[in-house]
């Protein structure tokens, strides 16, 4: 179980996370939603020890968490120029020689012999996902994994996550697309004002939708009218 207690993170004087608590269980997919700038990525980077918290505790199975137990897919992934997809995955195979690139690529269908520079956003995401998948780690963190993916890969990714869940992995997913989370997550946390303001079990997801839609402005019609036009 991944457990976070009283987490405080700040960038200079700006407090981003303010005493955040939450838990993610093994064998579950936990979703995190929140508005832009609410601190989702900061939270994930802190779990991965890329940001030092001012205060708080992050543990996995009652031990302080170490990055080597985490496979983390970032929103934007970095690739060296003029490196092919196959070469990128070779790096992961150095540590994990059992990862069968050919078989996995039959699922994702990437042109591995080409430069990664020539890939689309979605293809780059698939390649990075294959890399972190090969690590076979207990905690899997995916920041906006569905961004840029086509419909077919969206479904494939969901199915892979469901299989990983059945293998008792602890999976954390953020997304702006609520529907992608509600279809796979066992619980979803709502991050706002630096804390997990609400959490919802699958049966309560309709309340989450109501909560998120309440932020829509009532007078959008008037604003759009104000744009003028022909």
């Amino acid at each position: 179980m991944l457990s976070i207690k009283n987490l405080h993170v700040a960038y200079g004087a700006k407090q981003v996370l303010q005493g955040l608590d939450f838990t993610a269980n093994a064998g579950e997919i936990t979703g995190i939603v929140g508005l832009n700038g609410s601190g989702k990525t900061t939270l994930l980077n802190t779990i991965y020890s890329e940001i030092n918290p001012r205060e708080g505790e992050i543990s996995f199975d009652n031990q302080q968490i170490i990055p080597t137990s985490i496979a983390y897919l970032k929103t934007q992934n970095f690739f060296y120029q003029r490196i092919t997809g196959a070469e990128y995955l070779d790096l992961f195979r150095m540590r994990h020689p059992n990862f069968n690139v050919e078989e996995w690529n039959a699922v994702f269908r990437l042109p591995l012999e080409k430069w990664v520079d020539s890939y689309s956003t979605g293809m780059k995401k698939k390649l990075a996902f294959m890399g972190i998948l090969s690590l076979n780690r207990d905690v899997i963190i995916l920041d906006e994994p569905f961004n840029g993916l086509d419909l077919e890969t969206n479904e494939t990714l969901k199915n892979i996550l469901k299989i990983l869940r059945s293998k008792q992995k602890t999976i954390l997913v953020t997304s702006h697309i609520l529907e992608t989370l509600t279809t796979i997550c066992d619980r979803i946390y709502y991050l706002n004002d630096g804390i997990m303001q609400h959490h919802f079990e699958a049966k309560d997801y309709h309340q989450l939708e109501a909560l998120l839609t309440k932020f829509e402005y009532d007078d959008l019609d008037r604003l759009v009218e104000g744009l003028g036009g022909t």
């Binding site: 120029q81 490196i83 196959a86 070779d90 150095m94």
Partner: protein, 299 residues
């Protein structure tokens, strides 16, 4: 001011101390050069910049006469040469330079190479851990191969191979500007010290291996100048050590360390200038310690 803040006042003063005599040296060389030759070289450089710049379409969108903007930029660039031509009373050469720059700035052509989507040949699988070299080599092969071949072809001249080795070393400095994802560090090695040690040994080794044919050629023709080669090989071997330690001293996952280009340039100037060579060596030790400290945050 931002660059000054990044390098610090001490380094800035040292830089000035080194650059001033260098600038004087360049001016002394220029005074022996025929003015028209200097104009020709300057125009060739300006034309190369102009034909390769990729912002022409964008500038066209925001300016009615992009030609004027290009012209202003190039006129600023040629100011030192123009000043020297005025000083040398070479009026015709000055006129030729200004007219030449006007013509170059007016050319609406951009050279675009067709991009390949896959490599000509693959590196062996185990070599992929040297991703900086794979990526760097493929980006810079267009410069590295001619330099290498030219060095070998002109090995009849004493200075050809040492110069080629220096140029090759300088080209590799750019290999270390990008910071890899954090997971790459972990895949390479489990702790900071062994990571740095392995990387430095591997990359100096690759450079030495690549240069070996040139080294042998030099030794065949000029065995009596072995000490020159020793000095050159020492200097160019410091390049990757310095680049690697500097890279990891300021490492943050997934960023390009553009600010390091200036520091690296400065170190190269020190390394190639008499009496200042110890500065980069001391800095390498300092950067090594900083790199270890910084990497421990990520490993």
């Amino acid at each position: 001011m931002r660059i000054l803040a990044e390098i610090g006042v001490v380094l800035f003063v040292l830089l000035m101390l080194v650059l001033f005599p260098l600038a004087m040296g360049v001016l002394a060389q220029l005074s022996d050069m025929p003015p028209m030759l200097a104009v020709g070289i300057t125009l060739a450089i300006i034309a190369s910049i102009h034909l390769n710049r990729q912002d022409k379409d964008f500038v066209k969108l925001i300016l009615q006469r992009p030609f004027l903007m290009f012209l202003m930029e190039y006129l600023v660039l040629i100011l030192p040469i123009a000043g020297w031509l005025v000083y040398s009373r070479a009026a015709w050469a000055l006129l030729a330079l200004v007219v030449g720059v006007c013509v170059v700035a007016y050319v609406p052509v951009t050279v675009k190479f067709r991009k390949r989507e896959r490599p000509l040949w693959r590196f062996p699988k185990g070599f992929t851990r040297n991703y900086e070299w794979i990526s760097g080599w493929r980006k810079s092969a267009v410069w590295m191969v001619p330099t290498y071949l030219l060095g070998a072809a002109l090995s009849g001249f004493t200075a050809a191979i040492p110069i080629a080795l220096m140029v090759l070393g300088l080209i590799t400095l750019d290999f270390y500007m990008d910071c890899e994802p954090r997971i790459f560090l972990e895949l390479y090695s489990r702790n900071a010290k062994s990571f740095l040690r392995k990387k430095i040994i591997a990359h100096v080794g690759i450079f030495w291996l690549a240069c070996l044919p040139l080294v042998f050629l030099f030794l065949i023709f000029y065995y009596e100048y072995w000490y020159v080669l020793l000095v050159v090989m020492f200097v160019v071997s410091v390049f990757p050590v310095l680049s690697i330690t500097l890279k990891y001293a300021s490492y943050q996952p997934n960023i390009r360390l553009t600010q390091n280009a200036f520091t690296m340039g400065l170190m190269v100037v020190f390394l190639c200038t008499p009496f200042t060579q110890p500065v980069p060596l001391v800095m390498t030790v300092i950067y090594y310690r900083r790199a270890l400290k910084n990497l421990r945050k990520y490993m």
